[in-house]
Symmetry: D3
Subunit: 199 residues, 6 copies
């Protein structure tokens, strides 16, 4: 391996912790999630959707894992900014240059998977895109519950775009839930605040 190039790549992916999801700033969020956080959670969702849809989960996970890496170089352009930029081309070129620090075989595998996700011409491509969008909608639901009402807009847009039955059903179920943010831990607390025995 070319050690210099490998550590250049490793230096660059740390940048994904410093780039933030710009879109929700429109709705008033001051310090949004990082791109790295979005990658982690959307990739877990991609795995889950693949399993539930009977697709190739390993492939979906690989496809999702690097899907926003070019944002280390171009930031996270939101849906207003794309009025003014040709974002698609920029993303592709930035991804290619970003991956140029990796050995050819690895780079080509990742690029091929990215293309599949972009074109959504396979079941896995469709699933991974749905996972990407579902993560965005889920985070928006939480912000919305916390009072950022502009975030409802993200959920509406994702709802219209989803393709898989599973993703649609999950989003519908989440929307119905008035307290999704706190849903998971209700009933799990082991109470240590206790009344005295005799008083």
């Amino acid at each position: 391996m070319n050690k210099k190039k490998i550590i250049k790549f490793l230096s660059e992916i740390q940048m994904l912790k410093r780039v933030r999801r710009e879109g929700v700033k429109l709705a008033g969020v001051k310090i949004p999630d990082s791109v790295a956080e979005h990658i982690a959670i959307s990739t877990q969702i991609a795995y889950l959707l693949a399993k539930l849809e009977g697709a190739d989960a390993s492939k979906c996970v690989l496809m999702s894992l690097f899907h926003d890496n070019e944002e280390a170089r171009i930031g996270d352009p939101h849906k207003i900014s794309v009025r003014y930029f040709n974002v698609k081309n920029a993303e592709r070129k930035a991804m290619e240059e970003h991956l140029s620090n990796l050995p050819k075989q690895i780079r080509e595998e990742i690029l091929k998977l990215q293309k599949e996700m972009r074109e959504r011409n396979t079941k896995e491509g469709i699933i991974v895109k749905d996972a990407d969008w579902l993560e965005i909608a889920i985070q928006a639901k939480i912000y919305s519950e916390l009072g950022y009402k502009g975030c409802e807009n993200w959920i509406d847009n994702v709802e219209k775009a989803l393709e898989t039955k599973t993703a649609k059903e999950i989003l519908a179920e989440i929307r119905k839930n008035p307290d999704f943010l706190n849903f998971w831990w209700k009933g799990l607390k082991k109470m240590t605040y206790k009344k005295l025995k005799k008083k």
Copy 2:
């Protein structure tokens, strides 16, 4: 006035507090300054440079005051991202649409000043651009003193680009100062920690 459009404009410029200067994230800064902060300080610098260079200070201030407003729409693209985007065109189009909420006469005045700054074909255009860059270099000097050594790169680049004698001299003076961050307040503290009289 068209009240709806005016308050749309006012809603939008609040966004300048939520958009952050992306460049220094490259050097490890997690939560950089906002664009609004940069506007305030670089405009004060533009006033000062104009006065010291014997130029039209009122004009410089007006020119500087709106110079990054389009970033409410396109974010703050840093010097890596411009490898992949045609930023100049995007900036111009976003600025035009941003200002479309203002009455024609106001909008045209601002656009004319922006053009002058972009083309630097007048003394004032040159000064305001220098003020913009000088603010970036000054902030980078402070980050550098706090341990973000990658920020030296910003100062080097600004140093090469400055045009006015005053801006060059100021930056040279700042670079020579090993503790610029704390320079202003040394000697100003009124000490209230006092020894007891008799002990």
Copy 3:
């Protein structure tokens, strides 16, 4: 120019990014806007009000641009703290010492404008004060929409104090708007989430 003094001044105005608007902490805001952010946006508003009121916009902008610079030295005293301090005197003295690093002619121009703003004995003085207050009310409206209900109090107080017809109309229009925070970008998003053509 006295280079040492000029860079002292430049070191000091960076402090305006670190001083925060203390008032809204009363209402529960943990990390409020910086003074520099307030300066940038209120100065843009001063320009706009001046144009709409047919006043001298250049003068208003200059007047507004330095109007809180003394807060680098005294912080941002809120409306509870002024029960206990003679803030007016402190502001004046701190501003004078702050400006003492600038050449006499510049310093005197700024001080003269500050006096005009304080005394509001000219159209421009009245407009710039209105712009200052309007910015505070606008930010408070956004916080209020995000759930900081105590911020309504700032809007009420500004409403009572405004002098110009334009500022009053603008604030009335903003108060009527139930989603002012998100008002500017509704309808502007270019949707990139798209259904597949044939499926």
Copy 4:
């Protein structure tokens, strides 16, 4: 008890978590400690100094516990700001009004202790003031080790003002330590990163 007044007092002391130690912003710290954090640690130090100096520890702790409560009302004025304000009077008046929500007997006990700390006319008054300053110097030492070199100034000033032998010796010992921040946990880690047994 007057329940309304008691819960007003409880509402107010939560504000101490939102007011921050303004001084170190001079040295470049963007989001300093809260006043509540300073109260907790300086009171623990007051207890320790009292024990080591053979003074009344209970009294010292009570004296220290409320010593900055007025900052809920007046903020935390730093050593530049006191050039422009009569801080001492403001502190006293704000403290009195702050405590006016408490029953008379309680209020008077606290005020009496505050006076003792201010006048330092008892052993305990001297110790608690030393604890207050020592906490400031300790925090400054940590910031200094992290690259905020302007913070050395706080340590110098505290060093000159301390009265008790114990506080002086402690500060001298801390200054000698080149890595005070990490001093406590070196050697305590239980390593769970382990080589495989046979490889």
Copy 5:
């Protein structure tokens, strides 16, 4: 005194500013209060409860002042995590090792008080535990008012656990108040926004 050990202890208690109250993250709070902040305010509450309940206030304050110090070592385990850990034992052992840097007499005094608080077999032990819980409920009330509705759960749990009449009455009074966060400062503002005399 053993200076090395004393400054180790002082280095460690600064950590209490960096450890945060983990529980409310469940309810969506991104950056909760620090443990040091909780210590300061709950100790002030302990003093107040003691006075109102006619107990030994000095003892209560000492008991409260160190009650979470072991969290420098073990963090702040929330009520889900205690399903999986034996937190009680960990707390005790960590507290003992934490205090081992202090002279024996001091260490034993603190440990004895901690035991009393844990066992709640004295009036003071009961009061200090109530103060600890009351502070948690008060902070939760504020978060709840700001839109973190999951925080209601903390208030419910504290309500069930409180023992003293005073603490119960105070919490009931706070719950009834629809705007507890802003309760203290309403009516205190000295308005400096003023209409012009003649217009």
Copy 6:
């Protein structure tokens, strides 16, 4: 699928954005990375190591993707806290309960992979653990370059524990690099600060 359980799981994994890597707080970091950020980057590293070591990359990625999910429930216990807790057992139990919301087949796949990582009895188990540690060392290197010198300790500990040749070589190369943080972007900037053509 059981929709309620699936969305409970999805609600829970959002918590991974709110739980932070506690360890580096020892070294003075105030707001460390989130667990989600660590998962994203360490999983990308796991993929890379697997490729470079000729192992099953898909398996490594799956194994890494969920490796810290139990921290939604137990937080991120650092190396001081494990002196006091039986963390291994807690992790296992929390992971099991966390996964209980997923269908049996999925849950068992993940648990089997976790076991392999824990026991490191396969090439992939060893690689994924190395990737986990390498990510920690890389982040520590960056903090160390920014002045958090206590973070060197993490790098030393990881260095001793790594098993694969590739991971060891990469870490050695990174340690040699005096400016790893900024390494990736040096030379990539497209300069837009330009001198005027003729002047």
